[in-house]
Amino acid sequence: MIRIYVPKDSAARAVGADAVADAIVAEAAARKIEVKIIRNGSRGLLWLEPLVEVETPKGRVAFGPVEASDVKSLFESRFHEGGKHRLSLGLTEELSYLKNQERLTFARCGITDPLSLDDYISHGGFAGLKKALTMAGGDIVAEVTASGLRGRGGAGFPTGIKWKTVHDAKAEQKYVCCNADEGDSGTFADRMVMEGDPFMLVEGMAIAGIAGGATKGFIYIRSEYPDAIRAMKDAIRIATSAKWLGQNIQGSAHSFSLEVRRGAGAYICGEETAMLDSLEGKRGMVRPKPPIPALEGLFGKPTIINNVLSFAAVPYILAEGGEVYKNYGMGRSRGTLPFQLAGNIKQGGLVEKAFGITLGQLINDFGGGTATGKPLRAVQVGGPLGSYLPASQLNLEMDYETFAANGAMVGHGGVVVFDDSVDMAAQARFAMEFCAIESCGKCTPCRIGSTRGVEVIDRIVAGVERDKNLVLLDDLCQTMIDGSLCAMGGLTPMPVQSAVKYFPEDFDRPAKMFAAE
């Protein structure tokens, strides 16, 4: 029996992985060759998707990007026995893109069958939870604190401190909520975890439950991720029947149950308090802080809220120890971050590296420059609320503090590359427009400011009192920064002001009218 891996990750499916899998099954049957197709997660080399792997005595051999029409010739060159083909990439593990990464969180993704509990356990899964089951909550919190892990959703708040607050809070019921509302353009690491290694998220959340004293958890997944929703629901069902979730986990005194809740296309629900309201069945309106969710969160109870990648980092930290994790990284940014190379980039995909790698190393060494081959003009790091950086800033090290000091943010690690065809005034306008569409409407600077922002940028582009309107735009941005209730309104000025600062020429072109919409 020959084992052939064809990813089930939705990025692979988006470029034809299902048709490739079907073609392999059909061609193998016609040739009377016994094959077993495993629909694995993605290895994260997304420009090579669909990336087909064949298990050989020497290791897994990769072929890609494979189209259904290539399958016949693959069999003709006996790819199922490791034979050479024009799509041959050699041993997967030897691919430099993978080899040069430091995969702690993504150690298993793409290697295992995402929903096979046996695969998960034989690749180190549940080692962290097993350890946690024997530890006191406070000791788990101490281990996470020692790792230096900070919130991977973008805010970078120390995870251990958050967990300690919940651990120390007195309440009959506490909750663990996973923010899987990965709405930032250019990010897909959460999705890849949920589709490619869902038990890791289950494990991380169960550990959080034990640490904080919570018995119930929710995973809030955006409705734009139907495959991730399915995978997580299946993983929860499988883990529960194998007693890794539910009453008395693995015969211990600890109980923890999990439920998936779907978002409904509101970007603001990635803001933690809006997510809480949404989880309670309400409009996703931002709550003022204090009270902090760690004390008064879901249904008013103490709640641990973390991003998928924060929870996903925890099993490793428990299994290997916080100190090991802490050895990676720079400054106060400890551990690794799964960076996501996206947009106009030749070799887009997932690159997990310790903090400290430069933006340029990510884009050029891993990404291979722009997809179009034209010069790189701008890079947006950290999602739609992140700064647009020019090529001259590629030497910045990926580190929360370094980025903040340079008026930018690392955020969730998304890197979106633009070539020289980009119109930065249009991008700035889009940032304001997006804020207007997605604002929850609770505070005025965000709700009204974003609409006014679109209008002011339109006037600048149209050449109406440009200098005055640029001053006005700056003033408006400052009002949004100072007066908004949450990061939505507070950070929208970041892409806008960085576009004006680094690409002023785009705001000073011959007058152009936007079509009325």
């Binding site: 939705s10 988006a14 997304l46 991720y225 495959d227 069945g281 409009r283 887009g348 739609p384």
Partner: protein, 163 residues
């Protein structure tokens, strides 16, 4: 259109569907989004008539139900076409000619975002990020993801959906 989308269905079975789905969630008000998702999945949209039914079942006000339905972009207030194409409009797709793809979609289907083609075949919607940012520009056809889209591939897709 298939049988369950007929007008009679709208008036008679849909409010009923709402109460059946709500009871599946023990009429818990915090499950409102889940209930609305199921309702939209089964009926094709969230009918106006189901709002008071849900309010009663969950013991919340009609205004609250209306507030939720109208807040979230995902919930549709009127029937969609047989297929729904959601085109990503976010930055990573923009960097790979996503705007040209959107223009091509408008031209091909002769509808704007949020509208359905006159033959009821396709509803076109805008979304902001599908997490397919390294294989952009991307879209979602019903629940099928598609990446590295071009205006030509879009044309082929439309033909395939029409057949």
């Amino acid at each position: 259109m298939s049988g369950k989308h007929t007008l009679i269905d709208v008036r008679v079975t849909k409010p009923d569907a709402a109460s059946v789905i709500a009871s599946r969630y023990d009429n818990k008000p915090d499950a409102l989004l889940e209930i609305l998702h199921d309702l939209q999945h089964e009926v094709g949209y969230v009918p106006e008539a189901s709002l008071p039914v849900l309010a009663k079942a969950l013991n919340i006000s009609r205004a609250e139900v209306h507030g939720v339905v109208s807040f979230y972009h995902e919930f549709r207030r009127k029937p969609a076409g047989r297929h729904v194409i959601k085109v990503c409009r976010a930055e990573a797709c923009q960097s790979m000619q996503g705007n040209e793809l959107a223009d091509a979609a408008h031209k091909s289907l002769k509808v704007k975002f949020g509208e359905t083609t006159s033959d009821g075949a396709i509803t076109l919607e805008a979304v902001y990020c599908l997490g397919l940012c390294a294989t952009s520009p991307a879209l979602l056809v019903d629940e099928r993801p598609m990446g590295r889209m071009t205006p030509q591939k879009f044309e082929t897709l439309v033909k395939e959906l029409a057949s």
